[in-house]
Subunit: 432 residues, 3 copies
Amino acid sequence: MLTHEKNALLTQCGPGTPMGQLMRSFWIPAMTAAEVPPADEPPVRLTLLGERLVVFRDSEGRVGVLEENCPHRGASLFFGRNEEGGIRCVYHGWKFDVDGHCLHMPTEPATSRMCQNVKARAYPARLAGAVLWVYMGDAKPVPELPAFGFMDQPDAHLYASRWHQECNYAQAMEGELDSAHVGFLHQMVNQTDPDHQALTGKYFQEDTAPEWKILPGMAGFMACNGRRVDGDKRYWRLNQFLLPFFTMIPPRPGDAQLVRMWVPMTDERCWVICVSWRPDAPLNEAELAAWRNGENSHRKVIPGTTTPVERLDNDYLIDRQEQKTISFTGIKGIRAQDAMVTETAGPIADRTREHLGTSDMAVVAMRRTLMEGASQCAATGQPHPAAANPWLYAVRAVQTVLPQEQDVATADDFLAPARGTPPAAPRATETA
Amino acid sequence: MLTHEKNALLTQCGPGTPMGQLMRSFWIPAMTAAEVPPADEPPVRLTLLGERLVVFRDSEGRVGVLEENCPHRGASLFFGRNEEGGIRCVYHGWKFDVDGHCLHMPTEPATSRMCQNVKARAYPARLAGAVLWVYMGDAKPVPELPAFGFMDQPDAHLYASRWHQECNYAQAMEGELDSAHVGFLHQMVNQTDPDHQALTGKYFQEDTAPEWKILPGMAGFMACNGRRVDGDKRYWRLNQFLLPFFTMIPPRPGDAQLVRMWVPMTDERCWVICVSWRPDAPLNEAELAAWRNGENSHRKVIPGTTTPVERLDNDYLIDRQEQKTISFTGIKGIRAQDAMVTETAGPIADRTREHLGTSDMAVVAMRRTLMEGASQCAATGQPHPAAANPWLYAVRAVQTVLPQEQDVATADDFLAPARGTPPAAPRATETA
Amino acid sequence: MLTHEKNALLTQCGPGTPMGQLMRSFWIPAMTAAEVPPADEPPVRLTLLGERLVVFRDSEGRVGVLEENCPHRGASLFFGRNEEGGIRCVYHGWKFDVDGHCLHMPTEPATSRMCQNVKARAYPARLAGAVLWVYMGDAKPVPELPAFGFMDQPDAHLYASRWHQECNYAQAMEGELDSAHVGFLHQMVNQTDPDHQALTGKYFQEDTAPEWKILPGMAGFMACNGRRVDGDKRYWRLNQFLLPFFTMIPPRPGDAQLVRMWVPMTDERCWVICVSWRPDAPLNEAELAAWRNGENSHRKVIPGTTTPVERLDNDYLIDRQEQKTISFTGIKGIRAQDAMVTETAGPIADRTREHLGTSDMAVVAMRRTLMEGASQCAATGQPHPAAANPWLYAVRAVQTVLPQEQDVATADDFLAPARGTPPAAPRATETA
């Protein structure tokens, strides 16, 4: 349960808010690389952390992310002309490059210095790991990109998709960190059917009340949840939470790795970007086809949009007959099921009325990590230190089976890939 | 005319408002019995007095009315599974019975006491008189149901329907108590046509400015309106207003009785539930067919919904040619005509700018009765005394013709069925 | 750049605001004469300066403009019956004439004086120059209509159309006074094509940074903008701004004159009324056909509505391929292009973040003239003096070519038709 004030602290990410400041410490994933238009093609719109932007690629292929409204009198640059090194507002022909510099201001006299003095708000952008990253903070120089395992993989090893959800980012993300729900929300009605067992795993049925162990780190925490299985053993899953909104859950053996990103669009809507990847091999055609069709780790969207097919305003196309006999929800798609339980709590869940149990330990840890980070940034006026340590993101979500009495915190072999490796020489942080 | 403050007092019914507290003294009609889903079938949504609820029937046929959001983390119970004695949230499998008790909390360890301590907000519900009644107040024990004449009639004597209107309940109800409008709004253009006379009655044309006499009672008042007719006589109609939002108007001779209920959904929308009934005989096929088609006392809706066919956002399908030559409004349906004049005053009418005349005496009495009741409940913190006296609702709306000079308040034979009969032994009120 | 306070002063026009008071000094153009319904036909709705009204024509052909809501209990007079000298509310049969007097109040007793005491809010209305004018101010007697050149022209010399834009009036009007944009927004991509040159004029390409000279007058100002052309000459265009929202731009040689009117509907939406006219000849079929089709000075709307075909919520049907090879915007219609650049700045542009250049001198002058007028009206409680001097509106927008060194303010022959002629005898102003 949170007070109204803490709920606001957690959920509000616009310019000038403490959580907005924390978020702006980090590179923000904005869209998939495939959604970025080609060089000299028309810009696309993007709303991020409450700010309306346009994204384009200039003649040299550099990506520009500018405030949507022209700094002159506010006309939308979405309707601008992307040509010869920049985007030109069609109202008066003012032209801006990817850095926001004004290249041409033809309505001013030749003697005017105004062109040098007016700048469009521009954010640095990078393409890496099939994702477009945007830096909306103040640090100079800008930090390095986070060193997620997928960031330097070849294209064939990567698949990224994006959709939007009709609720605050924190609420959407809570559904991801909350391992206890897996055994319910996503289960099949007839659990003895081996196909259905395959989907959610029989371990989830053996113990519905996992034990939690939160192992904090510099950029977030590892949320270990252990279920008693096979008599005297415990099945441990280790989920990752990484500031400000990254999550990883362990894949089934043989499946691809994944990272999900829960990015505030506005305070009442968020983007979800999911990257599936294999560190050692190209993705295979079967999994690619399933993801493109919105199965498993990805969500089914109306082609050419980020709008899910099963969504809040159509009751997720629930099939009540199917709910009785086939799946627990009657809703198609693991991701749509997740969206249903988080979106129906309202655009911003009223956390003053919730009742948290032991199953919500990772949710509590996530909120605390975010709120403490936001308060720290607000107090110091500095970016969060994790932003200056990209290696903190070179970690994995993993799973294993241990003897029941073993403390997971001591299982070093298991934890090693989840902990990552600091660089050989100590790094100075950005704020030092 | 009301001040802004009094208009707010009259119209705001959410939790914590004085009018909301008054309303919560009483059993609230929520939907028709036919709209309540069968046992173990999926729940339906319902918004009442600003609260979002779900309605379902458990395996034993008991009706449950729960807050829509799960007390855990707020997922909607509309998407829940209604099975074996309760509704189960699909997020984590928490299960609640019709009283809001948690029956199962599988994500908590076996040793946890949390299941006993968490309760879903649940409201007592009863089916009676073809209507589902919900009690949203605090009184213990809950009061008896109001003893409307139709409450214990056999099914064949009853017909109930429900629709919604796009304005505050008080405004919608004002149109019902306002007898003077009948001779205008619902009239035909050619009043000499005997068919048209039959519809609204020639008495309404003989005297367009009825005299009013308000006779107050413990649960509301009788609004008598008398028109000079046939030379030296007066045609008296006696409408009933019963707290907090029940009205009765006298049927034409031979027609069925009716009760209308103007129930706040939100402050800017209301439900209308209408029960037509015959105390002594089954309803006949002709009147049932007409009502199902949205004629006379009921409203035409899009099948399977509570959305009227003729409504605000389509200008009530007004036919301007028909308005010139056939009906006064050019709008089909008595109820649609009523909705038009009340809804077009805005979601909440600005009563600071109105000009009330002698024709508005019942409207004024209704507002005063409600506002005094609300103030009294707010001052005492107690339910309204009428809620503890169900017999006050066992009354009728009646009509007669009296000599013009006779005081209607002295016409005891006429008034007897409108006054009801107190129980033999005096009852203690809930607040005593 | 304006402060938030000044932006509010400029843009808010509802009852009781300073700018609203300034506007109510003047006759407000409300719709085209062709849109006013015939005598005894149903009324139409109109929102003006934030007030919801109905417009009708009584049996004698007089135009009535009344508040939409009946003064009794607020039912909409839009659904009223327009018959025999007035409009009758269908709720209780109250009937009002074009002056708002109550002609009949049949629900009150014969002895009641209420009919004489209740008045519907009514605004004087006049038809002139193919436009319906409404006076919403307090001055008694009402001022004369502004003496625009087109006001007493025969019908065949006049064409008027109306559409709405999704932004504040001031923002929409800024696009009109802003001559510098013409050479960009409306240009063709291939400027050497003689057809394209014909459209926007080669002079606009020769000098993209016109020099400005603002010549203030009693009712507004002349905004002269001069472009260096043909070596040693200057091409001068003289646009007119006349309080509170009238603009004129000079037509191409041989083309019809025009006046545009940027009338607040609400603070976030405006009407645009455009009158094209010829002082000395009937309009020709070719230009009429083009205007009816939404070309040149007028806008293409969905027939029977004021809703543009190319509009904000459909991205103005931009054709990105056409934007590359044919027109600068890829948007069809000069007026749609203007709407795009003004509407996309938001319903009310945030003028605290703009960057004005020398090209914006007329925009600055217009804002200052309006804000000074509003402040003056608020301080004195009097109408603006220009409202009492109709001759101030008998002016033209003109253009010429002068030697480059000549001061346009000294070009008396050029300025004469733009200055207008005061009446022979001095007039007392309304406020004297």
